[in-house]
């Protein structure tokens, strides 16, 4: 899995590519939590448009990042969910707890 991070004004955007499974979620989780807890950016956007697969450990990482962002008063936004990613969040009954937009423009305007 590839993780790239960029900053647009006061928003940090994670562009993820590949599969979020047990093999790589520890690195993803670490990157999310560092940005939210240590750098305390007001808004974190996670771009999942190039993520083909998310397993339960990937969902757990997203939930942890969401909780950490709430703890420090920042927003965590998911964009570009594929049908498969949406299906997994639906199955987890966690779809409604995330702030979700179709694309980056909508997320930055929100």
């Amino acid at each position: 899995m590839e993780i790239s991070v960029r900053k647009v004004d006061k928003t940090v955007i994670f562009d993820l590519s590949g599969d979020m499974d047990l093999g790589n979620t520890p690195a993803v989780r670490k990157a999310f939590l560092r940005e939210v807890r240590e750098n305390r950016v007001p808004r974190v956007v996670i771009n999942l448009s190039r993520v083909r697969y998310i397993d339960s450990s990937g969902v757990a990482s997203l939930v942890e990042a969401l909780k950490a962002s709430r703890d420090v008063g920042s927003r965590l936004i998911l964009i570009g969910l594929s049908g498969s990613a949406r299906e997994v969040l639906q199955l987890s009954r966690l779809l409604k707890i995330f702030e979700i937009y179709d694309n980056e423009e909508e997320a930055l305007a929100a």
Partner: protein, 182 residues
């Protein structure tokens, strides 16, 4: 990772007895408990389920269940060690689900075709309390894997056999009721 092709002579005699009859072994995989191999297994399961006649949604469901079961073995049975043995046996079966959830269609209930997947590991025996799913109302990380498996498969059975954990998963090919369209 080793992938073995079907061999009609090679039938496990010690498998669990059930109401299902086996048409045959489809695929057998032996791999170490390395998380980096999960992607390769998913690829193989996706292709197998496609050729088995499952719908795209069912293919994703079976692939997800196998992936989550492997993840549980790596995390819980082997505590993250990457060099422990795991075996997966994929067979075609014919029968009807007694312990599993009902499936659509009268024809399907009487003589359903299903994909059976047995996952074997040599970790310590699993305690019943470890097989509990968490309440989904809780918003927290963890505990979702078993829920995904239960939601994805028609039959989920665990047995401890001669020092081996055996997780048996079955997904039946759902036969739509006459007059209903997908």
């Amino acid at each position: 990772m080793t992938l073995k092709v079907p061999d009609s002579e090679r039938r496990s005699n010690d498998r669990e007895r059930s109401s299902d009859s086996r048409d045959g072994l489809l695929m057998r995989m032996e791999l170490p408990s390395n998380p980096m191999l999960l992607c390769a297994v998913r690829g193989a399961v996706e292709r197998l389920t496609e050729s088995f006649g499952f719908s795209p949604q069912e293919c994703r469901a079976v692939t997800r269940a196998v992936d989550e079961a492997l993840t549980n073995i790596i995390r819980h049975a082997y505590c993250g060690r990457a060099d422990r043995p795991i075996e997966l046996i994929f067979s075609s079966i014919r029968g009807h689900p007694i312990n599993g959830r009902s499936i659509q269609g009268e024809a399907g209930l009487k003589n359903a075709v299903g994909l059976e997947i047995v996952l074997c590991d040599r970790g310590p025996a699993i305690k019943p309390e470890q097989m509990c799913m968490r309440a989904l109302e809780e918003v927290r990380a963890g505990g979702l894997g078993l829920h995904f498996i239960q939601e994805s498969m028609d039959v989920v059975e665990y047995k401890r056999v001669k020092g081996t954990n055996r997780l048996r998963l079955i997904k039946y090919v759902h036969v739509p009721k006459p007059g209903l369209t997908a």
